[in-house]
Amino acid sequence: MIARVHAIASRECGSFFRLPAGWIVLSLFALLCGTLFTLQTLVPGNPATMRGFFTLSGWLLIPVVPAISMRLFSEEYRSGTFEALATSPVGDLSLVLGKFLGAFLFLLIMGLPSVVLSLVLFKASDPKPEIGPILTGYLSLVLLGSFYLAIGLFISSLTANQTLAFLATLFVLIAFLAGPAVAVHNGPAWIRPIADLLSLDIRTRDFAKGVVDTRHLIFFISSIALLITLAFASVHSRRWRG
């Protein structure tokens, strides 16, 4: 199983580098990171911290992740390559995990240039920034990116239309980020605990402060697992429907 997951993941990740779309996504993320870093972090007189950068990182990934996830299954369905994949001796779970890990690997590579930004901060600031919040900030970026990817993976498994997959993922991500905040401030009292539970903003703020709350880790990991399971169910159900 591992060999097959690895084969699918490496093809998936490699395909982003063979296509212009992959390089565009990489460039876009680097541009967004650079802009945010310059505006939020590299401000003379301000304390040397990347808290603002990581707090807003949830929004930073919004235009980027749907562009990565939209092709995971939708493109395979549209081009017919899914038929070749689904008839090879690869289990549906391996297929879904391979796709997810391939996109996750690309996401990690995409985030690498942002490490340069923290090095710049270390070089440019005196006193030096605390390393802890920066590391937890990166952890939140990875967890949030994976959570977004898992949403995109599931949506992509539902449709052969890449544009639809992109727009639906974008909509869901915006709803996830903005919805709880709006509900907390404007919604009825009974909705506030639910909004707090679903809020990504609270979690990224904690990570950006250097706090690793186990509840946040469990939230992200269990949500990712649930979404991967849903994607598996969607892919598997095609065998009955197709």
Partner: protein, 329 residues
């Protein structure tokens, strides 16, 4: 090697496959024939494990496609109709990736890819991007991918679809060569292709198996019921009735059909009759000619209709389901 037993498949309210049953033994090359919407692709998809039957059982190489799906899929090499590939990958990389999906290690992969490239004459395009290849080459890359793991069963869905005549010839030669050592199921709506490649034909229509036999046996069986086309002058009113009686009096004639609608308009002053003989009847041409002569009917044409696979196919797919009789293999 392939067993399909009482398999049903429904898409919404549409019955794509209605309780079909057939079995392919090792070394058999079967053609799956049928018009569009006959259920060929649905059947193939259930055999290759792409989809699951609503009821019934499919097994490949002794493995149940539902209970042991991975083992069953490992026995099959599948060429889908559209020859789907990743256009951004090079031929050799694509084949290597496919080999990895079959769990081959690096050394096995290298030799399997080399063997598939040689076998499908892909040496010239091994390092070219798949998206840049012609349709014929793409088809061959897909076929090479299907052969990588040396499967005992090959399933080819419309293998020559969209190819030019020279590519069709090359692909047929390749399939013929491959069929010497494998069980093959070839889906096509090109009858000549099936006649050339296969030693068994399964004709499907409306989700049912209408015939299942050796193509030559199917034709021979149809020949047992010979038919004759007679074209004779229609000079005055009442000639048709008179001629009908003449044909009726010939022994061994089972059925008399007057002008077929498509011919009547083109032949003015002449009538065309289709005379069907009873099964096992001798050659009736002389008797028909003699009867016409005795009755003073002028014959312009008397032809023994030789049934071809195409005619048999058309007859079977046009018949209502209850009229069609599956011919046992």
């Amino acid at each position: 090697m392939i067993t399909v037993s009482r398999v049903h498949k429904k898409f919404g309210k549409i019955h794509a496959v209605r309780g079909i049953t057939f079995e392919l033994v090792p070394g058999q090359v079967a053609g799956l024939l049928g018009p569009n919407g006959a259920g060929k692709t649905s059947t193939i998809r259930m055999i290759t494990g792409y989809s699951t039957p609503d009821s019934g059982q499919v097994s490949v190489g002794g493995y149940d496609a539902l209970l042991q799906p991975l083992a069953a899929r490992r026995c099959v090499g599948y060429l889908p109709e559209a020859a789907p590939l990743y256009p951004e990958m090079r031929t050799v990389d694509y084949l290597s990736y496919r080999a990895r999906l079959y769990g081959m290690d690096r050394a096995m992969r290298a030799s399997a890819v080399r063997r598939a490239i040689d076998r499908c004459w892909l040496g010239d395009v091994a390092v070219r991007r798949v998206g840049k290849l012609s349709k014929g080459y793409k088809q061959r890359v897909c076929l090479a991918a299907a052969l990588l793991h040396e499967p005992p069963v090959l399933v080819l869905d419309e293998p020559t679809n969209g190819l030019d005549p020279s590519q069709i010839r090359e692909t047929r030669e390749l399939i013929k060569e491959l069929s010497r050592e494998r069980t093959m199921l070839v889906s096509s709506h090109i009858l000549a292709e099936i006649e050339r490649l296969c030693n068994r034909v399964i004709i499907m229509a409306r989700g049912e198996v209408r015939a299942d036999a050796d193509p030559a046996a199917l034709v021979a069986r149809a020949r047992e019921r010979a038919s004759y086309v007679v074209q004779c002058r229609r000079s005055r009113p009442g000639d048709d009735e008179r001629m009908y009686k003449v044909w009726q009096n010939i022994p061994h004639i089972a059925d008399i059909q007057p002008d077929t609608p498509d011919r009547a308009a083109t032949v003015q002053g002449w009538s065309i009759w289709m005379l069907a003989a009873k099964p096992g009847a001798p050659d009736l041409r002389e008797q028909i000619a003699q009867a016409a002569l005795d009755a003073g009917v002028l014959i312009r044409e008397l032809r023994h209709e030789v049934p071809t696979l195409e005619k048999i196919f058309l007859k079977l797919v046009e018949e209502a389901p209850e009229q069609a009789q599956a011919v046992p293999a």
